[in-house]
């Protein structure tokens, strides 16, 4: 009796699973770290999906995820074959999937920056050094897995203060993404924050920042960041030379509107070694073991 019940339920479960797996055997799926507002991401990457589908002549699908780790895990589990990663998430992903490769980065990503921003009530002003007066303020990073929103600002904070962020600030938060960091500091929920410079510049150009409420107080030195990373086994699955075609398609992407949505000038070639500095910093801070 019990066995029969179990069997019946196993069948029912299998029935739910089967039609799903069969339907999408050869769709090329990609994802991206959720570093900005979801609506923007969906718009941007739907554009990329359409572009890639045309260039590569396969069905291409973008899946949104809720965290940086979910993007890495989906890539590792081969549920996505391509991803737009940050510096750190890319390093994590390539460590976990042997044979995976950084294909292309934005022109800006060779020397990316983090901006430290502060609410006007703090009276902090822009300076060439990380201002010592940020001590004992409330502070927010972006996502825990972010390069420009967590890893590099933490690295520069430790370098400058010789202490962990929790000891420097009265309160340390993780906003989740760069847009939210901007909004939280603008609203004064946190006094100081660190975010991706490109998000700041784009929001500023679009007139979405109340510059009376929030300003940039320090710009970090440059470091390598975002890149497109592809799994090593795509050639087996999608045909010989597929990886090179993906690389070419990304490098040749020149639709100004699409590029502006990233925002990047253009995509340029990248390889795994470009991200060695990020790996070292992540190991130093203890995020990578």
């Amino acid at each position: 009796m019990l066995i029969r019940h179990l069997r019946r339920f196993a069948c029912a479960l299998a029935m739910t699973a089967l039609p799903l797996s069969a339907a999408q055997a050869d769709t090329f799926v990609f994802t991206a770290i959720p570093d900005e507002d979801e609506t923007k991401l969906i718009e941007r990457f739907q554009g990329v999906a359409d572009y890639l589908a045309e260039e590569l002549d396969v069905e291409v699908r973008y899946v949104p995820v809720k965290s940086y780790a979910a993007a890495v895990t989906a890539f590792r589990n081969n549920q996505v074959q391509l991803a737009w990663f940050g510096g750190l998430s890319g390093v994590q992903a390539r460590r976990l999937v042997s044979g995976s490769e950084a294909l292309a980065q934005g022109a800006e990503d060779e020397s990316f920056q983090t901006y430290f921003i502060a609410h006007s009530s703090t009276g902090l002003e822009a300076s060439d050094e990380l201002p010592a007066a940020i001590r004992d303020r409330t502070f927010t990073f972006g996502s825990k897995g972010s390069t420009s929103g967590r890893l590099m600002p933490e690295f520069f904070l430790r370098e400058s203060f010789g202490e962990a962020p929790e000891d420097i600030f009265a309160r340390v938060g993780y906003s989740g993404n760069h847009t939210r960091t901007l909004r939280l500091v603008e609203a004064g929920t946190y006094e100081v924050g660190a975010l991706n410079f490109a998000v700041w510049e784009k929001e500023l150009a679009d007139g979405n920042i109340d510059t009376n409420a929030v300003k940039v107080i320090w710009r970090t030195p440059g470091y390598p960041d975002y890149q497109w990373t592809v799994r090593g086994d795509v050639d087996e699955r999608f045909g010989e030379g597929f990886k090179d075609r993906v690389r070419t398609a990304l490098l040749e992407l020149d639709d100004p509107e699409l590029l502006a949505s990233f925002p990047r000038e253009a995509f340029i070639p990248a390889d795994n070694d470009d991200y060695e500095p990020i790996r070292k910093v992540a190991e130093e801070i203890g995020i990578l073991q």
């Binding site: 699973a17 799903l20 797996s21 339907a23 999408q24 979801e38 609203a187």
Partner: protein, 488 residues
């Protein structure tokens, strides 16, 4: 002077909560919290039902995941209830239900990924544990006598089916239906970690400050829950159960190699994986304990105790809203609507909203837990109070409240509150994912750093803490001779 045991216990818990309040991190850090709160309520009254084409699909998925998860949970729960006299079964069930649905989802996401099975199992597994326990209690309460009147040749199975089950059939059904409501809430919040249910869109709208969109989703969710009696009809049930699996959405195929890798490598503690032996393992364990488990434990306990007592206070203040001894039918309806909203909003969603509005501290979490749990208890206590008969010359107003009703209801109130103690703790831990430094924060950090060994160890630690609280709650309830029906 000696105090009544219930009062003494209450005062001890009150004192612990006050001490907790002293050390808790409580503040509103937003510069202008009221403006955002105003915008939020404005969004609630100007809902935008047409912004997402996907909204109807999200609702459908929410219902489908709840149905499949709860049906599986009820089936396996019933089977396990039959074997509940074995210690191993009891302990296994207690353990799986001590782990929150969101933690289960986070675990399955690592190897099933975005396959519907992730969401289904995240609900089905803890619910199996709960169903097994509650069903077995219900079956135990039935009278064994009718079974003895049947000839032994009929066999134990049929005797059981025809004598025990019918006696508690009604209870089994109504509890299962009640659990389905809980399942809808669980299903909705699974969206917060990326499954295609309501939470997915709710999170997106809230984080972007699109309050009218978020308002529409919340309203639809309340309507869905409030209309359960209308659409959940027994004759339709088989149709729902058969149809639900087909509405779980298109996930991605499971790669079985990921499952093997997860169990044979990912969750093996790093020092063992790297061949550092026992010494390495001890160093690793000490590191997890000092930097994650202990701080997480401390914050979880402080928050739990404060939220528990505040839930009690809210329940005591709010139950008159729906009690026939205080208000007429019109105002009672208003009270009912308010309590339905409080208890159908998952704590996780409430905490998420308040965190966005007030900024990060323990305060949003405490208020969210207290409102939700206080709402549930107020609803049950209020309903019970309406069954009491008072003398015609009983005092009115505050005198009636404090001298007639509260003393009569206090024991069941306390029973409900203690019953919810471990539930509040489980939720407190999970709220860490939102950025409050409870155990869930450290679990989430470990997952973000792709350290599943660490994450799983912390989840097991959280489950054990939950079992301790459950045991403690049981002891206190037994000592005070308190009895209650299960709630979720």
């Amino acid at each position: 002077m000696t105090l009544a045991p219930t009062l003494r216990t209450s005062l001890i818990f009150l004192a612990i909560a006050l001490a907790g309040l002293m050390v808790a991190d409580i503040s509103i850090t937003a510069v202008n919290p009221w403006r955002d709160l105003g915008r939020f309520f404005l969004g609630m009254v100007t809902p935008d039902f047409f912004s997402y084409q996907g909204l109807a699909t999200a609702l459908l998925r929410t219902v489908a995941f709840a149905f499949v998860g709860v049906s599986l949970g009820a089936t396996f729960g019933f089977l396990l209830a039959l074997a509940f006299r074995w210690r191993a079964v009891r302990m296994g069930c207690a353990f799986v239900r001590a782990i929150h649905e969101l933690f289960w989802a986070l675990i399955f996401l690592q190897f099933f990924g975005f396959h519907p099975l992730t969401g289904v199992l995240a609900i089905a597994i803890p619910y199996t544990g709960i169903f097994a326990k509650v069903y077995s209690e219900m079956l135990d309460e039935t009278d064994p006598e009718p079974g003895r009147t049947l000839p032994p040749a009929i066999g134990a199975w049929l005797t059981f089916l025809y004598t025990r089950v019918p006696q508690c059939w009604q209870q089994l059904c109504s509890y299962t239906a009640y659990r389905l409501e809980c399942g809808l809430r669980s299903s909705a919040i699974l969206g917060f970690v990326g499954l295609p249910t309501l939470g997915f869109y709710l999170e997106a709208s809230f984080s972007q400050g699109l309050y009218s969109e978020a308002g529409a989703m919340l309203i639809l969710f309340y309507v869905l829950i409030a209309t359960i009696p209308l659409w959940l009809r027994r004759p339709l049930l088989p149709a729902y159960i058969v149809a639900a699996p087909f509405f779980l959405g298109d996930g991605f195929p499971i790669v079985w190699g990921n499952v093997t890798r997860f169990f044979t490598s990912d969750i093996v503690p790093a020092p063992l994986r790297h061949g550092e032996g026992m010494d390495g393992l001890l160093v690793w364990l000490a590191d997890v304990a000092v930097s994650d488990a202990l701080p997480g434990l401390w914050h979880t306990l402080v928050l739990t105790q404060v939220a528990l007592v505040l839930s009690g206070i809210i329940a005591l203040v709010c139950f008159p809203l729906i009690s026939k001894h205080f208000t007429g039918p019109v105002r009672r309806t208003g009270g009912h609507v308010m309590l339905v909203i409080l208890r159908s909003t998952p704590e996780y969603v409430l905490a998420y909203i308040l965190l966005q509005l007030w900024g990060p501290s323990m305060l949003p979490a405490i208020v969210a837990l207290a409102l939700h749990n206080g709402g549930i208890i107020a609803h049950l206590v209020g309903r019970q109070s309406s069954t009491l008969q008072l003398r015609p010359d009983a005092p009115r107003g505050f005198g009636r409240y404090s001298y007639e009703l509260v003393p009569r209801l206090y024991r069941s109130f306390l029973a409900l509150l203690f019953y919810r103690w471990e539930i509040i703790m489980r939720e407190t831990a999970i709220l860490g994912i939102l950025g409050i430094y409870t155990l869930g924060f450290y679990v989430d950090s470990a997952i973000q750093n792709i350290q599943f060994d660490r994450a799983l160890l912390l989840i097991v630690f959280t489950a054990l803490l939950n079992l301790v609280i459950d045991k403690l709650s049981r002891t206190i309830r037994a000592r005070l001779a308190l009895q209650t029906l299960p709630t979720c």
